[in-house]
Amino acid sequence: MNCAAYQEDISRYLDDDLSDREEQEMFAHLAGCESCRGFVRDVMQLRNALRRIPAPEPSDSLDRRVLSIPEQWAREHHHVLSRTAGFWKQRLAVPMPAAAAVLLAFLLTTVLALSMWFRPVEQTKPEVRYIMGLPEVEVRGIPGLPAKSVQ
């Protein structure tokens, strides 16, 4: 590895990105390389200087503009914003009469379907008729013979 490669490792070392082995190799190189030691000094000074720069404080007017975003959003999407109800719930909201109609239709369909499903099965009774007190039995289904009545 040359100095350029070690210097890239030094940059990664600052970000805690080197493995133990890479770190050992980098320090071994630094022990004998004045140029790379100078690079370490320079980037450390840069890092410290950058960290001393205070983070700029956003202005009150920016805060107001950003904090009005949810209200703007709600207005543009024709919803009334409530800090407790939230604006995404309202985005999905359905008008009450429409919801009631859909629910009613669903319930009616369900009741109808259930009533059809559980309809009592009609028991088949033997084809027995009583004529003058004696049962008349209709015999049918014998191949080659016409249906007839037997008393």
């Binding site: 210097q7 890239e8 940059s11 990664r12 600052l14 970000d15 990105d17 100078g38 690079f39 320079d42 980037v43 000074q45 840069l46 890092r47 200087a49 950058l50 960290r51 001393r52 720069i53 983070a55 700029p56 404080e57 956003p58 202005s59 009150d60 007017s61 920016l62 805060d63 107001r64 503009r65 950003v66 904090l67 975003i69 949810p70 703007q72 959003w73 914003l81 409530s82 800090r83 109800a85 939230g86 604006f87 995404w88 719930k89 309202q90």
Partner: protein
């Protein structure tokens, strides 16, 4: 007053929790997210653009796009790099609109010549900020995202669309170029 309360109030809720609340329709979660990220996002925009008014516009646009795109974020754990990606894209778009970027060859790190001698006599912070603003945007953004420990290499890669190795390489080049320009200044101060 809501605005002044932003500066001190701290919530222990995680980004994921706040994101869940925001998606569930809690507008208060938006305020808490803004409270957490207003300074780093504004700082990134300001250091990318070098202009307070433009940085404010970019910050506002970032949070507006966050609200509009919150449902498109698949992994709640990726919220932070996603938010910085929006801010970075806004900043770069504004830079492009200003036609302030140059399409020089890829090895060029500086946007123009800034002899350190021109900056002699100014405070170190101003000098560093001045030099930072002269770095090309693609080097400046990765350096800014990394130096304050804002994002990891992997998160910067996600935010910028670069590979991790490209991120490491750009950060190294930015540091090397920046440190080389600052070295005479630091040496001069030590020698005094």
């Amino acid at each position: 007053m809501i605005v002044s309360s932003l500066k001190n109030d701290v919530t222990s809720q995680t980004d994921e929790q706040l994101l869940g609340q925001l998606r569930a329709g809690d507008a208060r979660a938006f305020e808490l997210i803004y409270k957490r990220y207003r300074r780093p996002i504004y700082a990134l925009c300001l250091r990318l653009l070098g202009n307070e008014s433009r940085a404010e516009d970019a910050t506002e646009e970032t949070f507006l796009k966050m609200v509009n795109g919150i449902d498109s974020l698949a992994a709640p754990g990726a919220f932070r790099p996603w938010l910085f990606q929006i801010a970075r894209n806004e900043g770069l778009m504004m830079l492009r609109q200003r036609k302030n970027t140059t399409e020089a060859n890829d090895d060029t790190v500086w946007t123009d010549e800034t002899p350190l001698t021109l900056l002699t006599g100014r405070e170190t912070t101003e000098i560093i900020q001045g030099l930072l603003s002269k770095l090309r945007a693609e080097y400046r953004e990765v350096l800014l995202l990394r130096e304050d420990d804002l994002l990891s290499y992997a998160e910067i890669a996600a935010a910028t669309g670069l590979t991790e190795s490209a991120v490491k390489s750009r950060i190294f080049k930015a540091r090397k170029a920046h440190a080389a320009r600052l070295a005479p200044l630091f040496k001069e101060r030590i020698d005094r």
